[in-house]
């Protein structure tokens, strides 16, 4: 399975060569980018097929896991990994310069790395790379607004990176290791205290900058309001989800204490309230979507804060739904930018675009039987299952957010479909944007008819992602699991709600010890 590294290496290779190639032929650079992304999709697809529900750790450079860097492949990692080149291909900056192609390729590589990496510092490197690539892409549009937004994003992002690094430093000073699986074995002993919690808080805020978490999302409306719909879709749909995925990995593996999840729940709730209220007040369509994206990401954080499988199922459902819907909405808003009031009657005559808009809006609000409904239902059920006061408050927030979402999205719809004319169109939607949005719509409608298989698939994925023992066994082998078990027995009295520790151990079918140069192959669940 070592070939999966190609999904990170090839876009970097192509990205490095693109500016030079683009000097002689822009078309060649573009085709190189498309070809590379297609190969990445193929690589990850083959990996998905071969993995077949199991988990594998790849030791990069052949150095055995606690010393070298590992990539950890499970269904969740590969699903998000596969989404990266696919969405980069669909949202490719067609009118861009070779530099923009190069940055998009670098962004693809780093986002794939965020999905796959199993080493906390390696994740930091990919997170920084994602940031560096997005600065250029955001500012590259050349307008003053975009550059101002990019500067703001740069400052917030830099602050976030410092906090993230501080958190990683604390974790390293406490444990002496950076490997996530190794950290999972050491965490019950060395990070179950206020300092450990502070480390999690720092990492949460740091990763929250790209995950649009509550206090550090000030860049969102400006950036999404000033960049092209394709880039906004890529950042809001994809990059934010990968930041969340990293948070979830850290939470599940290293910070099982309930306070960590509660912190995430509270910040997520604040994000929902702030985002949805701001979206309700917004007078510009793109900014409305940007604020709504903050609210949706708040729901994602709230959902993932529910311990165990239930939370991961709900979080994955909300995240995947938003990953599908929001980029499509940004594509549709490309021609309907600007003040909402100015769009009076804009939807009339463009029935495909309007129909898609209605579909996505309804799913975002959560009208049954559209997938958005099931995602929110899972979240609310998960929270109610917890039974604590804070969780009830979270469930109420999600439901109240639904009402607010319905209010502003229907208001926007009624403006778009209003009878009075007076709207001067800047031209019809570009064909390709419509095709991409239709594709998302088809997937959305198709998933209504496949709810059961989808639900089962999500459950299996979540079970795998919540399986801390399985993660450790895959990366480090069976001995490490036994060691963690002993430590947890001592600690479980203090924290009975410890995540994942009570899960039955899966069956380890083949474990090749740790020889340098061979991947450790782990449990199939």
């Amino acid at each position: 399975m070592n070939f999966v590294v190609l999904a990170v290496a090839l876009p970097l290779l192509a990205g490095f060569l693109t500016p030079a190639l683009g000097r002689s032929s822009r078309a060649l650079a573009q085709w190189l980018g498309w070809g590379t992304l297609a190969v990445c999709i193929g690589v990850l697809w083959v990996a998905w097929a071969r993995l077949d529900g199991g988990t594998v750790a790849i030791a990069i450079g052949g150095f055995r896991p606690p010393l070298g860097i590992v990539f950890y492949l499970d269904a969740v990692a590969l699903l998000f990994g596969l989404a990266v080149p696919l969405m980069a291909l669909l949202l490719w900056p067609r009118e861009g310069t070779p530099q923009q192609f190069a940055l998009t390729l670098v962004l693809t590589a780093s986002a794939t790395g965020l999905a796959l990496s199993g080493d906390i510092f390696n994740l930091y490197v990919f997170y920084e790379l994602t940031a560096a690539a997005s600065f250029g892409l955001i500012a590259g549009r050349g307008t003053g607004a975009a550059q101002g937004a990019a500067l703001r994003y740069l400052l917030l992002s830099a602050a976030g990176s410092v906090l993230l690094l501080a958190g990683i430093t604390i974790v390293y000073l406490r444990t002496g290791t950076l490997n996530l699986a190794h950290l999972a074995t050491l965490a019950p002993e060395r990070l179950q205290d206020p300092v450990g919690l502070a480390a999690f808080a720092l990492m949460l805020i740091g990763l929250g900058v790209k995950g649009e978490l509550f206090p550090v999302n000030g860049w969102v409306p400006e950036v999404y309001g000033s960049v092209s719909g394709r880039l906004a879709g890529l950042l809001a749909g994809l990059v934010s989800k990968l930041a969340v995925l990293v948070v979830v990995r850290i939470l599940v593996l290293i910070f099982p204490q309930p306070e960590a999840a509660q912190l995430m729940l509270v910040l997520g709730m604040l994000g929902i309230v702030a985002g949805e209220l701001a979206a309700w007040r917004a007078r510009d369509l793109r900014r409305q979507f940007a604020f709504s994206s903050i609210g949706q990401l708040g729901i994602v954080f709230v959902a993932f804060s529910v311990p165990g499988e239930a939370g991961i199922v709900a979080g994955l459902a909300v995240a995947l739904h938003h990953l599908l819907v929001k980029p499509a909405l940004f594509l549709l808003a490309e021609r309907w930018g600007g003040s909402i009031e100015g769009l009076r009657g804009a939807g009339r005559g463009h029935w495909l675009a309007s129909g898609l808009f209605i579909l996505f809006a309804l799913s975002l609000v959560g009208l049954p039987p559209l997938p958005g409904f099931w995602a929110k239902l899972l979240t609310v059920m998960g929270l109610m299952g917890l039974g604590t006061g804070l969780a009830w408050l979270g469930a109420l927030t999600v439901m109240a957010a639904t009402v607010v979402e319905a209010a502003y999205l229907f208001r926007t719809l009624s403006v778009l479909l209003a009878r009075e004319a007076g709207y001067t169109s800047p031209g019809p939607h570009r064909g390709l944007d419509l095709v991409t949005a239709s594709l998302a719509g088809l997937v959305l409608v198709g998933s209504v008819f496949a709810l059961h298989p989808l639900g089962d698939g999500l459950k299996a994925m979540a079970a795998q992602a919540a399986d801390v023992q399985g993660y450790i066994r895959t990366v480090l082998g069976d001995r490490a699991v036994a060691r963690r078990g002993q430590r947890e027995d001592r600690i479980s009295e203090a924290h009975p709600a410890s995540r994942g520790s009570d899960r039955p151990m899966g069956r380890a079918d083949r474990a090749y010890g740790w020889p340098a140069g061979s991947p450790t192959r782990g449990a199939r669940s």
């Binding site: 190609l6 970097l12 290779l13 060569l17 790379l129 690539a133 050349g142």
Partner: protein
């Protein structure tokens, strides 16, 4: 008021971090992964400079990521500034004085030699591709300080950085094809401490040095051309 709040927030954050730091074994972290690398590093990788063994072998993909960060930053700056280049009718800054011009000419070969030395000995002594690359960049940028009218050939710069970055990835892919592990050290370890030792690590550092040098020199040159375009 706003300044005061910011100050209060920054002060609070600083206090928070200090309290955390007071509770941590700063400078004396538990040597878990570190111990392992110290134990088997020289034997497994063959680099006399163990830091290089970590940077290029154990955590080679981190270094590839860091190279890419620099690349993305340089490409981003190029993208932003591409619309602000000096127009033909604008005069650049006046040429530097005798001392600057003579020093630039004198230092150029010395800087190139020092830079290459540091790049080539990265696996033996402190230094390596990043440090040597910056010195190489300085060598090529210094003459431009003296003669602001000149500029680097950006096509050449792009090709050097592209091919050097490509070489780093290709060496990694070569290891993937032959040994089955991306970026695994190849070519035998040689005698510890000699110039031709540590397998592919020196080759990786040459790629890093060239890429960093080309990137920083190109970046500085772009910045200088843009600066001259300001009224």
């Amino acid at each position: 008021m706003r300044n005061f709040t910011s100050l209060l927030f920054a002060g609070g954050l600083g206090f928070f971090l200090l309290v955390l730091a007071a509770d941590l074994p700063v400078g004396a972290a538990p040597m878990v992964a570190g111990e392992g690398i110290l134990g088997q590093g020289p034997e497994a990788v063959g680099a006399a400079n163990l830091v290089t063994a970590v940077v290029l072998a154990y955590r080679g993909i981190d270094t590839l990521g860091e190279l890419s960060i620099l690349f993305a930053a340089a490409a981003g700056v190029g993208l932003i500034l591409s619309g602000m280049r000096r127009r033909a009718d604008q005069r650049p800054d006046p040429e530097g004085g005798f001392i600057l011009l003579a020093a630039a000419d004198l230092l150029f070969p010395l800087l190139v030699i020092v830079g290459l030395y540091i790049v080539l000995h990265g696996h033996l002594t402190p230094g390596g591709g990043f440090q040597g690359g910056v010195i190489l960049a300085a060598a090529f940028f210094l003459p431009l300080l003296g003669r602001p009218g000149d500029s680097l050939n950006h096509a050449v710069v792009n090709w050097v950085e592209g091919l050097a970055g490509g070489a780093f990835v290709l060496i990694g892919l070569w290891a993937l094809a032959v040994k089955g592990d991306f970026l695994a050290p190849m070519l035998g370890k040689g005698a510890l401490g000699s110039l031709f030792s540590a397998g592919t690590l020196p080759l990786l550092y040459i790629a890093v040095g060239l890429k960093v040098g080309a990137e920083i020199a190109g970046l500085m040159s772009t910045l200088q051309e843009t600066e001259a375009a300001e009224p």
